[in-house]
């Protein structure tokens, strides 16, 4: 699999299609699975890890339904390439940083990735833009069935699928939906919303975020409980709160438009101006400004800019992506310069294209 080709295409999870795509970005379902006859990762020797990796590799190779996946051996990959896969959400940070035999199998359009020897032997994750959780579950379920035809999963009659961490035991399933919530952040209501979600046993995570502040105001909401509820119930539990969150964000946007129109317009225009003219800019600042611009376009405050362009810029301006697209390694200072140039080129080009079409 050529990572350079991936770099140019838009990630499925950031394609931003589907209803209410100004707020709901994408959804994802992950299943944690382990092979019955091997220890969990923590007790695995290098030989064990290699054996598990081989077993799963051969399974994928021999399965016609999984034939078109790209198999990437993480142990052989450079740090930039691993970082690149993290930025595209195809592997986790822990998976990138750990040691020993490990790999990821990637669907050519990035609709799913199979992480091998992450925290569990196998993690199946399926991603779709928009909010089609039922279709996402169907795809996940089908991949799980296909893999299971070839090998035995660690399964307990009463406890279900056995996982390295008891927080995932049972279904081994994590259902998540990603939102763009800039107005809730701006009006400082986001913490209140999260506290109420936590009371409902839902977890909130920021995109790439460490700590509470999310990068670019992207937030992922997912189930915490995995045992004692069916997969359908877990999907329902997460789906149920989606309209509510959309409603909160819409109200916050309405409030900004009606009560704070001038400040909002100023904020959005400044963000756009900075992105178009900065000579050097960090990844954090870029995400923050792009978030304001994205909301501005969705509220009709900026014309001549397309949402897919902005979505793409969120990911293309990440450190490893910039370097892959440029085709060379860059230190932080040079990345900040390259990022500023990249933004200028793409924002101006998009503006020009849109003007022509008018």
């Amino acid at each position: 699999m050529k990572l350079e080709e991936l770099a140019r295409q838009s990630s499925e999870w950031l394609r931003g299609s589907g209803p209410e795509s100004d707020i709901v970005i994408s959804c994802r379902i992950r299943l944690a699975r382990n092979l019955a006859n091997h220890p969990f990762i923590r007790r695995c020797s290098d030989t064990d890890l290699a054996a598990i990796e081989r077993t799963l590799y051969e399974t994928l190779q021999s399965e016609p339904k999984l034939q078109d996946v790209g198999y990437v051996n993480l142990k052989m990959l450079s740090e930039i390439d691993r970082q690149f896969l993290v930025e595209r959400q195809l592997i986790s940070r822990e998976h990138a940083d750990s040691n020993g035999a490990r790999a990821v199998a990637i669907h050519p359009e990035e609709k799913f990735s199979l992480m091998i020897n992450e925290e569990d032997h196998l993690r199946i994750q399926v991603m779709n833009s928009g909010l089609d959780l039922d279709a996402t579950w169907e795809q996940t379920d089908a991949i799980d069935d296909v893999v299971e035809e070839h090998l035995s999963y660690a399964f307990h009659q009463r406890l279900g699928y056995l996982t390295a961490c008891p927080t995932n035991v049972g279904t081994g399933m994590r259902v998540s939906v990603m939102f763009h919530l800039p107005a809730l952040v701006l009006t400082q209501q986001i913490d209140k919303v999260f506290r109420s979600l936590q009371k409902m046993n839902l977890a909130v995570r920021g995109l790439y975020g460490e700590g509470s502040r999310a990068m670019g105001d992207f937030y992922q909401i997912s189930n915490q409980i995995t045992l004692g509820r069916s997969e359908k119930d877990l999907i329902q539990q997460v789906s149920d709160v989606v309209p509510q969150i959309i409603d909160y964000e819409r109200r916050a946007r309405d409030f900004l438009v009606h009560e704070n129109q001038q400040d909002l317009h100023d904020r959005v225009s400044r963000a756009y101006g900075l992105l178009c003219s900065a000579q050097t800019i960090s990844s954090e600042e870029t995400m923050e400004l792009l978030s304001s611009v994205r909301m501005g376009v969705n509220l009709g405050l900026i014309e001549n800019l397309k949402i897919p362009t902005i979505n793409k810029l969120f990911i293309h301006t990440q450190p490893a992506h910039l370097q892959k697209l440029r085709g060379t390694e860059l230190d932080t200072a040079n990345r900040n310069i390259e990022r500023a140039h990249y933004l200028q080129r793409h924002l101006q080009q998009d503006g020009a294209d849109a003007a022509e079409n008018n």
């Binding site: 969990f40 923590r42 660690a154 307990h156 390295a164 409980i225």
Partner: protein, 164 residues
């Protein structure tokens, strides 16, 4: 900041008052949940700040001695790392894990998908894991004869379990 028990980012920060000193704990979501679920049951609604991971020295000693017969991992190691050693740990540490699982999931029984092929008995799984362990040890001490005979037995067992 990284979790003190694993490599994930720490998102839960706990200040523990166990004696004259304050202990700061920085844990990831999973390790934090495991940690908090080991507190006294939530029945007394006011959360006691005195989290006691291990009741007393005797209990600690007992925990350290109890080891999974398959992977050799102790329950103490699980408490320390937040990750189990092998699937059989769920069976051999069942008593210790149960309250923790109930605290995390508010449930004791799986509902939902099951492997289609029918699960081979957990005894059979145990036997296979143990045989693999023995094979590994045989290879380590360069006893290739034992190792290859074990390998054949493992293959035979696995062959039997393939879906028809």
């Amino acid at each position: 900041m990284k979790c003190q028990q694993c490599e994930k980012p720490a998102t839960i920060h706990i200040t523990e008052i166990t004696g004259p000193e304050l202990d700061e704990l920085h844990l990831c979501e999973d390790c934090g949940k495991i940690y908090l679920s080991q507190q006294e049951p939530a029945s007394d609604s006011t959360m006691s700040p005195q989290f006691k991971l291990i009741e007393d020295a005797d209990e600690l000693a007992a925990l350290q001695q109890q080891v999974c017969e398959i992977c050799g991992s102790s329950f103490y190691e699980f408490r320390h790392s937040g990750r189990l050693g092998c699937p059989h740990d769920y069976v051999c540490f069942e008593t210790e894990l149960e309250p923790l699982i109930v605290n995390i999931h508010a449930a004791t029984d799986h509902v939902g998908k099951r492997p289609k092929r029918g699960v081979n008995s957990s005894e059979q799984q145990v036997v296979l894991v143990r045989m693999r362990q023995e094979m590994k040890e045989a290879i380590e001490r360069e006893d290739y004869e034992t190792a290859s005979s074990l390998r054949d037995q493992i293959q035979e067992l696995e062959e039997q379990r393939k879906p028809s």
